[in-house]
Assembly symmetry: C2
Homo-oligomer: 215 residues x 2
DNA sequence: TAGATTGTTAATCGATTAACAATC
DNA sequence: TAGATTGTTAATCGATTAACAATC
């Protein structure tokens, strides 16, 4: 966590709260939408209304990274988009490894949403010999035993874990050994990884279970 | 939001912070795992270590709902599991509607993880005439125009939105009209709904984009 | 009994919001 | 110029943590 220091104007870094970083992609998403609607300029107020966030918070969040607006007129959308894209390191073509080609893994591999945003699945692994050597999007599925070598060779830094609960931790350890620094984890378990490795968890069931509390 | 008042011992309700409710399913997940490992008793410390959460926070969170432990010995896992299940209303067999049977919707429909946890997809809708009348898990896919009638008839309260960005808001409005009170939204947009309707968003790309900040 | 761990209070820490001078 | 909106400071609000008496 918090390892990277970007060459961005105003950054006495190591200090931007993770919760602020977490909102940047949301801002970016909203800006793209506004742009597609033909807008060229927006304000913290307009953005906030769209996102259900206070305008003060948006201005505060952005102020961690520099000054992107103009008093009286707001933010030029194209400019702010570029800056956020840069801050989040989204100018790169990211290579991603996917581990687990079961139900979920297949869905992820077929889902077009990652590639559109610059996250390209370049290696797929599974434990099942019947799946190994199958092809998906021109990629040959490899056995889990190849994880370390392949990921090292291709210098992949981002991986998606879509394996059953009970093997998730051991897969995570392989990925870490292979040099992966960011893991998107779909297994319903808290993974233990070194401090310099990011983990983000996705568990739709947890979201449903939160909502039923109020029903 | 915050409408429901449960008949649980210590609840001067409307007051449990959403962030606390959000952690309960995580605790439940960890308890199930401990149980499967054969453990019968645990402590806030053990749970905390597993989850990367402080033991004080776990005790504080639980204290919103009652007293579930014993000094000196900790928590009986089966008992705490039951209580959390009850608090989160997870004893019910929940009916769920799925809107959108594209790439993502199909993956969701095939994914077994929801049903195992008591969330059963009972109605599926899509706009595409070619998909309507197809079957999935014994359910006949219906056209979006049937959303209101079907959901009302079947008294469904939970829906999953897996439609393209640009129709998500209109679908949400149909769902609300139909009486849905909880929406799991996979479209990358902030939905506007009345205060008594819950929304939880899932966007894996946002998670990846957060992590690349640190890479 | 001695050791362990709860539930809770008070202290700390951090995040959000309100307000406003600066300025486009 | 008058109106609007930024970036930032200070105030408020809320969440986390430390500490400990109670007690199993």
């Amino acid at each position: 966590m918090g390892s990277g220091a970007l060459p961005t104007s105003k950054r006495t870094d190591g200090e931007v709260p993770a919760i602020v970083v977490g909102r940047l992609p949301i801002y970016l998403r909203a800006l793209s939408l506004l742009e597609e609607e033909g807008k060229e300029v927006t304000s913290s107020q307009e953005l906030g209304k769209r996102l259900g966030i206070s305008s003060a918070q948006i201005r505060k969040d952005l102020s961690h990274f520099g000054e992107f607006g103009k008093q009286g007129t707001g933010y030029r959308i194209s400019f702010l988009k570029e800056r956020l894209t840069e801050i989040l390191n989204l100018n790169k073509y990211w290579h991603v490894a996917l581990v687990g080609f079961g139900n979920l893994g297949q869905a992820i591999a077929h889902y077009g949403g990652f590639a559109v945003k610059g996250f390209h699945i370049k290696a797929v692994f599974d434990n099942d010999p019947n799946k190994v050597d199958q092809e998906i999007n021109d990629i040959v599925i490899q056995h889990n035993s190849e994880i370390i070598q392949t990921i090292r060779e291709e210098n992949i830094k981002i991986a998606i874990i879509a394996v059953p609960l009970y093997v998730a931790q051991e897969i995570a350890e392989l990925l870490v050994q292979a040099g992966v620094k960011a893991i998107l984890n779909y297994a319903p378990i808290n993974l233990f990884v070194p401090d310099d490795v990011q983990v983000q968890n996705i568990d739709p069931v947890v979201h449903l279970q939160q909502m039923t509390y109020y029903l």
